[in-house]
């Protein structure tokens, strides 16, 4: 879906930090993606192979770390993780819940050669 624009952002951020560190090249890029971020790894990889050509990141391997979505029940305070479908609180059945994590879409770190 919108993976092209996000992949461009990944490249931009990685190159910016690599240049700042005066790196010769970037070998690895570590991404953290929350379960609720609608990002498809394969699509990011697909675009990456095209857009990274000719940049400091050309040979970099993308590493995707998926983290689960965590919810809290506003009635009973129970915290639970989302498996697949959105469900009410498994403890008290309330639908008054709040998502506390799972939105993440971060570039955690890069590995470079200097």
């Amino acid at each position: 879906m919108h993976e092209l624009s996000v992949t461009e952002s990944v490249l931009e951020i990685a190159c910016k930090h690599a240049e700042k560190a005066q790196a010769k090249k970037v070998t690895d890029i570590y991404l953290v993606i929350g379960k609720l971020s609608s990002i498809v790894d394969d699509s990011v990889q697909f675009y990456w192979d095209f857009i990274s050509k000719g940049t400091l990141c050309e040979e970099a391997t993308l590493h995707f770390k998926r983290i689960p979505a965590e919810l809290v029940c506003l009635e009973c305070g129970n915290k639970y993780t989302l498996d697949n479908d959105l469900t009410p609180c498994p403890q008290c059945g309330s639908a008054r819940i709040r998502v506390i994590s799972g939105d993440e879409f971060n570039l955690e770190s890069i590995e470079v050669q200097r």
């Binding site: 919108h2 990944v10 930090h17 070998t27 959105l86 570039l107």
Partner: protein, 220 residues
């Protein structure tokens, strides 16, 4: 961590978010209230905008509309112009959403100074627009009865971070199996207490309540 490992921890859409803040500042400086209107294709976004224009025109509210479309067609902006308000068309070139850069470019073409309200009609899509902040003051989703009552469960992200939900095409309720309680429970799980208006752009039912809410936001 080796010395060649550089810790970054940056939100990948940071650049977009920063630009969204700049857009917000432009709206604020001009005293304009801005809405990012999102929905699936065919939910009735353009009809809803036209109803809103018609409802506010008597109060002298000046409205600008920014139309996001994936193809270079002017069907929507033509309708807005016909309703008597300026419209700028953004052709996303196939992209499935508007982002803050596209909005910034559109704002360069729109004189905000005479306006009170700007409605940004996002690309018809329930997934991608949810990820990109534009800088609007509120995000509004138009859901519609024929889409089905399971949409909050299938597209949770778009229902989160919203200020207002419009449930459109209520005139079709007698003809479609749409379980309003099930739909609303899904929404409640994602966005407790969300301000919701049920409307029909066809009959005009419910539009006044939405207009009252909106008038409370417009700086006029």
């Amino acid at each position: 961590m080796s010395e060649n490992r550089i810790k970054i921890v940056e939100k990948i859409l940071n650049a977009n978010d920063r630009l969204a803040n700049t857009n917000r500042q432009k709206f604020d400086d001009a005293g304009v209230y801005a809405i990012n209107l999102m929905a699936s294709p065919g939910a009735g976004k353009t009809s809803f905008i036209i109803k809103t224009i018609e409802g506010l025109i008597a109060d002298g509210v000046q409205i600008g509309v920014i139309e996001g479309d994936t193809a270079p067609v002017t069907i929507d902006s033509d309708k807005i112009n016909a309703a008597g308000m300026p419209a700028i068309q953004i052709n996303t070139g196939g992209e499935c959403h508007l982002d803050a850069i596209m909005l910034e470019n559109a704002l360069d073409q729109m004189d905000l100074s005479p306006l009170d309200l700007v409605i940004i009609e996002n690309v018809g899509n329930l997934i991608c627009p949810a990820a990109f902040e534009l800088g609007a003051h509120s995000k509004v989703v138009v859901a519609s009865i024929p889409e089905g009552d399971d949409k909050p469960y299938k597209y949770p992200n778009i229902y989160r971070g919203l200020e207002v939900l419009i449930i459109n095409k209520t005139d079709l309720l007698p003809y479609i199996d749409f379980d309003m309680d099930y739909f609303r429970q899904g929404v409640e799980m994602l966005n407790p207490g969300l301000t919701t208006f049920t409307v029909s752009c066809k009959t005009g039912e419910g539009i006044d309540a939405w207009l009252d809410w909106l008038k409370g936001k417009i700086n006029k």
